[in-house]
């Protein structure tokens, strides 16, 4: 596993801080946000690598940095950690061809596109960098990771807005099941905490704007005072491997992807339908593909963006579990790191895996007054010790795309 988030670099570092109830949300530093309605975001903290902070030059040579948008930088860093952690360094041509990459991005190189547009606008179109397109394309984390490590198997990339991370992991697992690869490097990367990105989501009335003076309280899933999501940036990448293949080489195994379900709302470009029935169908499909009953699930990492849609997801989760909902814990880790868009689903599936490993559920910060009651424990404020064998992670995206993944300990 490899992770870059507003809580820092490194899976264990991020996880420790998440469990401690820390928040990575702050006033935006990378540009002056004062003319926009939202002034806050979750930026990856800059600083020494040894402190779990971001120094891009420690990972990517300066001359290569300009060939890649920031989302590629973050993706390459998370991939480096994941590959190192997995110990999978194929030498033979056969093994390399059996190792694929499926790392997506919800949007791609937005800042790069913005900068290039300015160049063209200024009448300097002929001065456009030859690296503009390969820097902006959403599949270029997959491309760059394959080049760096020599992974010659399927090279794919999901682009499904905020469901990207789950689609990447779910689809990569299926490629392994279908025999297209033995190993897949899978996940998502995003870096759109830039003026164009924040302005765009502001216009869509999607972002929190009422907590600019209290950034750490802004992301408050299910709370009655929530007023929109907080955008974060980062990357989450896992190494998926056919089970016998992993066992045979004595790999470190966090757990198993056992279920995956998808659906479409066919309703509205940004808003879910009543009762979030699309979410229900995605979760139900994941449960069915895992061959389990909902009652076997001990933890749900909710999409829970801190928008009006939170309660619709809650409707769908309550419908899925029925009375067994009393035994489930559900939290939204977006309360601590914000919404990482295309990276969210991957990072959150990884958190779900760590819940199983460590028997501890991360909290939903700022859930002071739930907008409605539920039998489902939403882990307000503080982490909970809880033995969990199976966990479900939800991600839903604009366009009405829904994806759920189920993981289990081994």
């Amino acid at each position: 596993m490899g992770m870059v988030t507003p809580l820092g670099l490194g899976t264990e570092n991020v996880w420790k801080r998440l469990i401690a109830g820390e928040s990575g949300i702050d006033r935006i530093h990378s540009f002056d946000p004062s003319e926009l309605a939202a002034h806050i975001g979750g930026e990856v903290p800059e600083g020494p690598t040894s402190e779990g902070k971001l120094t891009i030059s420690d990972w990517i040579p300066v001359k290569d940095q300009k060939k890649m948008d920031r989302f590629i930088h973050l993706g390459m860093i998370a991939a480096a950690e994941a590959v190192e952690d997995s110990g999978w360094k194929p030498e033979s041509e056969e093994d390399r061809c059996a190792t694929g990459v499926q790392i997506g991005s919800g949007i791609g190189g937005l800042q790069t596109i913005y900068d290039a547009s300015i160049t063209v606008y200024e009448g300097r179109a002929k001065r456009l960098s030859p690296f503009f397109i390969p820097s902006a394309l959403g599949n270029l984390v997959s491309g760059n990771v394959s080049i760096r490590y020599g992974f010659k198997g399927p090279n794919h990339s999901a682009v499904t807005a905020c469901a990207t991370g789950v689609h990447a992991i779910g689809d990569a697992a299926r490629l392994i099941m279908l025999g297209d690869a033995d190993v897949m490097i899978a996940g998502g990367a995003e870096a759109t905490v830039c003026k164009l990105g924040i302005a765009g989501f502001c216009s869509a009335r999607a972002l929190s704007t009422g907590f600019n003076d209290r950034p750490k309280q802004a992301s408050r899933p299910w709370d009655r005072d929530r007023d929109g999501f907080v955008m974060g940036e980062g990357a989450g990448i896992v190494v998926l491997e056919e089970y016998e293949h992993a066992k045979k080489r004595g790999a470190k195994i966090y757990g198993e992807v056992v279920g995956y379900g998808m659906s479409g709302d066919a309703h509205h470009i940004t808003a879910p339908a009543e009762g979030h029935e699309g979410a229900y169908r995605a979760m139900f499909a994941a449960v069915r593909s895992a061959g389990i009953t909902p009652g076997e699930i001990g933890y749900v990492n909710a999409h829970g963006t801190s928008t009006m849609a939170d309660d619709l997801e809650l409707d769908a989760v309550e419908r899925l579990f029925g009375d067994e909902g009393r035994k489930v814990a559900m939290s939204s880790t977006k309360s601590a790191i914000g919404h990482l868009l295309g990276a969210a689903g991957a990072v959150e599936a990884m958190f779900s895996m760590l819940v199983i490993r460590d028997g501890v559920v991360p909290p939903t910060l700022n859930l002071d007054n739930p907008s409605r009651e539920s039998i489902i424990d939403r882990v307000a404020h503080e982490a909970q010790q809880r033995k969990v064998n199976i966990a479900l992670s939800n991600s839903f995206g604009f366009g009405g795309t829904n994806a759920s993944v189920i993981v289990r300990g081994v």
Partner: protein, 79 residues
């Protein structure tokens, strides 16, 4: 070394991230300095910008070494 040669060298060092000592007149951008085809496109753009000259595509294709670049720019500036 001429002022042009000096400036060319600086641009090459900056864009390709190579040691200054490696940027000899005979050094080939691709074979000796680790550039790929897109790097050379970017280099030529940087020369155009820095020296305020136009380097058409057919001329750019013939610029393979540091000396090629210096010669071409010096010829343009002399003309």
């Amino acid at each position: 070394m001429s002022e042009i040669a000096d400036k060319v060298k600086k641009i090459v060092v900056e864009h390709l991230g190579v040691e200054e000592s490696k940027v000899t007149p005979d050094a080939s951008f691709i074979d000796d300095l680790g550039a790929d085809s897109l790097d050379t496109v970017e280099l030529v753009m940087a020369f155009e910008e820095a020296f305020n000259v136009e380097i058409p595509e057919d001329a750019a294709e013939k610029i393979a070494t540091v000396k090629d670049a210096i010669d071409y720019i010096e010829a343009q500036k002399a003309a």
